[in-house]
Structures are given as C-alpha cells and as structure tokens.
Symmetry: C2
Subunit: 355 residues, 2 copies
C-alpha cells in the first residue's frame, strides 16, 4: 500500500494501478462500515484507492471538527489489511490554497432540506471536496455508504450535473448487533447514551412496519416512527410511566433523544412525499447529548423480516440488505387522504416526549 | 474531423486520439481569434478538440443570448480547415438536465469585480460550463484568449482550486488592422459604431504610455485612458469642440462610448492596484449602443512600440505580442502617492464625456 500526501504523489501512485479503479472517500476513524466500502470496491474493481481527509469545509461553526476522532496510524493499518492499494491523506493546506475561492454548490431539495437545513454550508463543503477527490483520483467507481443517504443522493446529482466520469456505488449500512448504524461519531456516546442509541433504528423499523399497512401514508409512517422513538418499550403505556417506574426502581433516567427530523422522501430528490412510492426513504436525525445520529430505511421491505424484529435483533444487517427485493410495496390510496408533504417537525414534541 | 453531439459520443471519439490533447472551448461565431486558439493547440498538442456551445447559463436576463450569432455550418468548416480533430457541439438539453441544480462558483475579486459586477451570474455560468467541458473532454491543455482576461484569471483559479488535471494556456488577443480586438459581438456594430470601436484600444494604448512615465500610478493610467476615450482626436481641445466642428461640417455626430469601467488590476487576482507592478493589467469595458466591448493590455510594454502608435496602426498585433518582453517597467514610487485602489467609476463621467 502506498501513502500519498500530495496531489502530485497521488496522481503518480494511481497512474501505475490497473483499471477499473475504485475510490473509497473517508474522514478516517474507520469502522466496519468503511471496511464494507473497501470490500465492495475490491469485489468490482482491479485496484482500490482510499482517501483519508477530515474536510474542514463541511463542518459548520460549533460542529465537531476539532474533536472529530483522528487516529491515522490505526486507519492506515486497517486500510492495508482491507486491501487498499493507495491512500491519499493530504493536509488541509494541500487541499485548499490559502486564497482558494471555488465552491461546488448543489441546489434544490436534495441539498437544502433536512441535513442541508440543519447543517448550513455542510453540503457545499461535501460537494466541493468530493469534486476535488474525483478530479484528483479519477476513479471509475466511487463507493459511499447508504447511511448518509442524503449525501449519497447529492453526490449522484453532482456527478451527473458536472459529468464527472465515475459511477457512484451505494453500499448498505453496516450495523452493530443491536441495530445501531455504525458511525465514527458513535465514539462520542456515553455508555448510557450508547444503550439507548439503537432506539433510533428500532423507531425506523416501526415506521417501516407502518408503511406495510393497507392505505398507509407517509404521515402514518412518520407518526409510528416518532411514537416508537419516544416510547421504545411497548410494555409501558407512556414514556412518563416508564420514567416513573425507573425512578421507583432507583434506576437513573435514561438519556433522551432530541429529534431533528423524521421524514419520508424520494431517495433521489429528497423531496418529501405525500404518498408512498417505489423510491420512498424514511430518514431521521436525532441528538443524544452533543452527539447527532442519523439513519434511514428504504420503505420497500420484506414484511416478515420486520415483524420478527425484537429489541435485541441480531438479523438487522440481513434485513438492511433485503432492500433491493422485488416485493415492492404499493399502498392503496384513500381518496380522503392528506396529500401534503409531511415531516415530523423539530420542536413539535408529542406530549410524552421530553427535551 | 468528427462531430459529437452527446457526452458519450464525445468521450468515444476522444478516447481514440493521441495525447496530449488540446481543448479550444468556443461559443461559435468563429473569427481569427478562435483560429489562433486552434493554431496554438495544434502547435503544442498531438490532437485538438473544440467545443461549440452557446452556453445559456452565462447570459444574464436582458443579455444577448437569443441574438448571439450562430452559423454552425460555417463554424464546423472553419474548425476543419484549422485542423480540429473532434468538435463537441451539444444541445442545451444534453448539457443541462431539466432538474440540473449544480453550480460551480468562484468567489473573490476575480469573480466579483468589473465583469462580475456588471454581469451578475455570468461567471457562475462560465465556471460551471468550463468544469463540465473539462470533465467531458479531459484535455491536457485548454486554450483561452487573453481578450477575456478576467475569464482567463477565473478559469486559472477554478482549475487550481478544483484540481482539474489540465493546463490553461493564454493566447494573445488577435486584432483587426485598426486595433479592434476580434470578438463575435463585433458583428452587432453598425458601420458608424465600427468606425469608432478601435478608440477603445487606442485609449488602452494611451493608458499604457502613461504607465511608462516616471512615478506613474494606476490612477494616472486610468485618467489617461479615460481622457483618450472621450477625446480620441488629439487635434481637438475638447470633445465639445470636436462635435461642434463636425456639426459645422455637416457630419453626423459619431457614436459615443458608454463606459462601464477602466481599471488597473493584478492579472491573476483582479484586485485593483494602488501601485503598478509586474502583473499589472489595464482593463476596460464600454458600450457602443447595445454592443458591449471589452479589451485589456498588460502594463509592461516596450515603450518604443507605444510611442509610434498612430490612429491607423498596422503593427497592433505585433505590439500585443511583445508583452512577454523582459524589459519590464518598474516605476519609481513617490512617497506622497495615493495608495488606494482606483478605477474609473461607472457614471462618474468627465466634463466632456457624453452618455
């Protein structure tokens, strides 16, 4: 494995590789999700490049750029074991001249809603650095995780609009045994937060189950997801009951999610949907303390795999990989149904949801 | 010569060409300036591609997109004679999907002053289409005319900032025998406007002559340029006298320039300069009726070639090509000199300048 610190070194090292060339862009702090990206690249490409760059321009003021986990030696070792041929790990000064003033901007809902609304400037930073990585590495295929679904849709749009000569491949989300989507930011979670973090995925599964009901609309899916998130334990009637019981038992009150959004969107455009369709995606973002978690599920599930989901589900990875199933869901439409787009609004908590 | 209408056809045709590959981007309506670009590409590259695309996104509302001169059959014939191997001439629909929403934006003075200020959105359109042409054609060198000096500086910045793997080569402005810089938009000029159009270049030469005086500052250069533009005939004391004389003679009053700007800038950054330097560029834009003309001169001239400039100069091309002379000009600096940037402001006409 060769390590390139500059654009010139990267181009030199990459020129010697066979084609097709796969690219796995990362910000380091590698986990099994990144390894799955490298594995997918190895399976379909003759050579694999990875980038390791904590891109400052995609972090907003007050976000976690300074404390983002960094352990380059460990990351390089993991890349080598995974079978990466060339790692491009530039400094910020190598990537951005002091007077750099060029930005790639993607407009429209794919960039402006949800993550784009919650993180101003984030997607301009992503679009710009991805364009640069594509022009530096010139991959035939670039691999991105389905976990960052809006980023994936934005990059697909960017690649199409700028005619970047590469394919974009999506790799299914890799989950912990309890269902939590793997993320470098999971390292921020306290043990107590880590224990409740999988509730976000369970809530998405509840939403997906609701999508399977006859006549279900996005608003029903969102409501089921929100209800599950605030009342993850079905044995208790209300979250207030749950907390009261814990206090009686002397248990500490568990950490609570602060919800940023729950929405049903078209997976390509990220336009919020009034009706469920073949590309419907259920997306959610919520914070546990200072840590922001995002996750998503396609709403074209195999029903059986959802119904059997338990609190300690171990088949979550398998369930995620079933998305491309041909058993697509076509809900019957009620003439009286609401057809306006809907999302669970930030701050509009249900009566039982604490903040 | 092969003609490609789609991105896929272009990539197919270009893959067969030897390297290095030169690219000459054009909006058609070809003239000798374009031929000089192709000639420069032929001299330094093994193969030459040209693009022919009147890019709608770089025209503002009220600009001349609809009436921009188009004669594809003539343009293709000229490209073939000039030695182009592949012409990429896409439709607007091929270049821009109906829901395209990605823009490349260059910020800073290079994009925001002068042309950027006068033509809002123009440079975003240029930056986006040039990025696309570079990713579609993948040239080793791309050739642009020095006449559009700010566009040239912006594209150099863009290519550097996005790591586009191509060199940018500047080709000297080609002029008519009377000094008018060649431009597709010259076709809009009436015979009367065409007769006075070379006054813009003469005014730049007057500014460059002023730059050769000891202690000259940008404001002196700008003043000399402005004076020349409003009083192009040195035999007359004032422009009022000139018009009065013409009326006495029964001549029609000649068309008048409406000045947009005259400025002295750093050729790379387009920051307006308080002192003359090795990269000083004198730039101007002015309108004759509905036709907007721009032109520029580097301020590192051979003095002799300026002093001999006459109203019907035939050595103007030779003078333009002398810019890279090593006889650079280093003005002595007066301690009392004004050091604030200066430009001839729009609308701040001298007493003798009509609008």
């Amino acid at each position: 494995m060769r390590l390139a610190r500059t654009v010139a070194e990267a181009r030199g090292a990459l020129a010697a590789l066979p084609r097709p060339l796969g690219l796995v862009p990362t910000m380091g702090a590698l986990h099994e999700g990144h390894v799955a990206l490298v594995r997918a690249a190895r399976e379909s490409c003759a050579a694999v490049a990875a980038s390791l760059f904590v891109n400052p321009t995609q972090f907003g003021a007050g976000e976690d750029f300074a404390r983002y986990p960094r352990d380059e030696a460990r990351d390089l070792a993991l890349f080598e074991v995974a079978g990466v041929d060339v790692v491009f790990a530039p400094s910020a000064a190598e990537m951005y001249a002091a007077d750099a003033s060029t930005t790639v901007h993607v407009g429209g809902p794919v960039a402006e809603t949800l993550e784009g609304a919650d993180r101003p400037g984030h997607f301009d930073g992503v679009a710009t650095v991805v364009t640069k990585l594509f022009t530096i590495v010139a991959p035939d295929v670039a691999f991105f995780g389905q976990k960052d679904a809006q980023q994936l849709a934005l990059i697909r749009r960017l690649v199409r609009d700028l005619d970047l000569p590469a394919e974009v491949a999506a790799v299914p989300t890799v989950r912990e045994p309890d269902g939590l989507a793997m993320s470098s930011r999971n390292a921020y979670l306290t043990p107590e937060q880590r224990a409740v973090a999988p509730d976000l995925y369970r809530a998405l599964l509840a939403g997906r189950a609701a999508a399977g009901e006859p006549g279900a609309l996005p608003k029903d899916v969102i409501a089921a997801t929100a209800m599950s998130l605030v009342m993850p334990d079905p044995r208790l009637i209300t979250e207030g009951d749950r907390i009261a019981e814990m206090k009686r038992e002397g248990s500490p009150v568990p950490p609570r999610f602060d919800l940023d959004y729950i929405a049903v969107v078209d997976a390509d455009t990220f336009v919020q949907e009034a009706e469920l369709g073949s590309r419907s995606l259920l997306v959610a973002a919520a914070r546990l303390g200072v840590t922001r978690l995002i996750d998503n599920l396609e709403l074209t599930p195999i029903r059986a795999s959802i119904r059997s989901m338990s609190r300690n589900a171990s088949q979550s990875q398998a369930a995620d990989r079933s998305h491309s199933s041909s058993q697509s869901h076509t809900p019957s439409q009620s003439p009286s149904a609401h057809h306006s787009p809907s999302a669970y609004p930030v701050g509009d908590a249900t009566g039982t949801k604490g903040r």
